[in-house]
Symmetry: C2
Subunit: 212 residues, 2 copies
């Protein structure tokens, strides 16, 4: 099971690392962190870098593609034909094509969400229809072999679902236990439905600053 | 608010990246990924590397210290006097000293959990008493300025609690919404209490393989 995780300037680290921790524990999984150029790839806040060990052209037939999000970096990538070509090429032969957060906008820009239901970060929910997809307010949604997840931390839930689809419940449950994924958030403000109007306003302002 | 996240060969990526995504969003946060040597630091499964931009000696007065876990890598670090000295030194002036997963064993080896309640990954729960700490089965536990979290994904819950302690509920709730941290695990096997005997047995075998 070859798993390609796309890195690009300005991606959000947890979008990639959450699903990676799940999927890399699948039996015989081989994970490839790929980018336009090998080496350290800087994340959205310009602090942390993750290392891509492979160029896009070196990983053209992965079984799973995972596209992380990252607001400003994502929007740049939706106009990057080298990245979009890689997404289209690998999607043709993939068993699963997946995204986390605004990563679905890259899938959309590659033309593969046309007519499908999809999700993304709540902030970007109005953008996904630009690519012919219908936004749904779910933690993740599967349409055939394509699975899109909501913002950042939703990638872990999506990846556990995918692990179950691929390897069955026993293995997916074992991975969940290894990661001790028994979430107990000390606050209850993780979605638009749960957050206060004030929290939503501050959060929107923070994202708009990131995009500017 | 200077935040130092320790990286060492064999750490678990999500232990560091989960809390980082929370804490880096605190107002005026400055995050430093530190290691014995600058450059890419390989994680537990020898696939992914995160980049440390600072050597230990360059970051001696952080406000927050975060120590990730990683079973085999952690056990090596508990015998590494350079790492332990850095933990002792930074702990002296820190406002908060924190760990995720088996990272608490490094705090323990540095001598700072003596007589305190602490937690760790469920697999390592019998090891923590070697360092004079009393294991508690909680998602995270705060003892004065020291907070230890349970395995891997527990770091996100711990970091949200810490964000609230430092910056108040409004900001912590905003960070939770930005990360869309509204977990909905598709399986319910994330703790020893919830997992089946079979799942626990397979998971133990997997960790023992990692340690060997």
């Amino acid at each position: 099971m070859d798993i390609a995780i796309l890195l690009y300037d300005g991606f959000t680290a947890l979008d990639a690392v959450g699903p990676y921790e799940v999927l890399s524990r699948l039996p015989e999984a081989k994970v490839y962190f790929v980018a336009k150029n090998k080496g350290p790839i800087i994340t959205d806040n310009k602090i942390l870098s993750l290392v891509a060990d492979f160029e896009l052209s070196e990983v053209l037939n992965p079984d799973i593609i995972l596209i992380p999000g990252g607001i400003a970096g994502t929007l740049a990538s939706t106009k990057d034909e080298i990245i979009l070509d890689w997404v289209r090429t690998t999607h043709r032969s993939s068993q699963w094509t997946t995204s986390v957060c605004t990563g679905s906008l890259i899938l959309g820009a590659a033309g593969i969400l046309q007519g499908l239901k999809a999700t993304t970060h709540w902030f970007a929910r109005d953008f996904i229809s630009d690519f012919g997809a219908e936004y749904v307010n779910k933690r993740f949604i599967q349409e055939g072999k394509i699975i899109t997840a909501a913002g950042v931390s939703a990638g872990v839930d999506m990846a556990l679902h995918l692990a179950k689809e691929i390897a069955g419940s026993d293995i997916a449950q074992t991975i969940q236990l290894l990661l001790e994924y028994d979430p107990q958030p000390p606050l209850d403000s993780g979605s638009l439905e749960k957050a206060s109007a004030k929290t939503i306003e501050i959060a929107k302002g923070a994202v708009e600053t990131l995009m500017a």
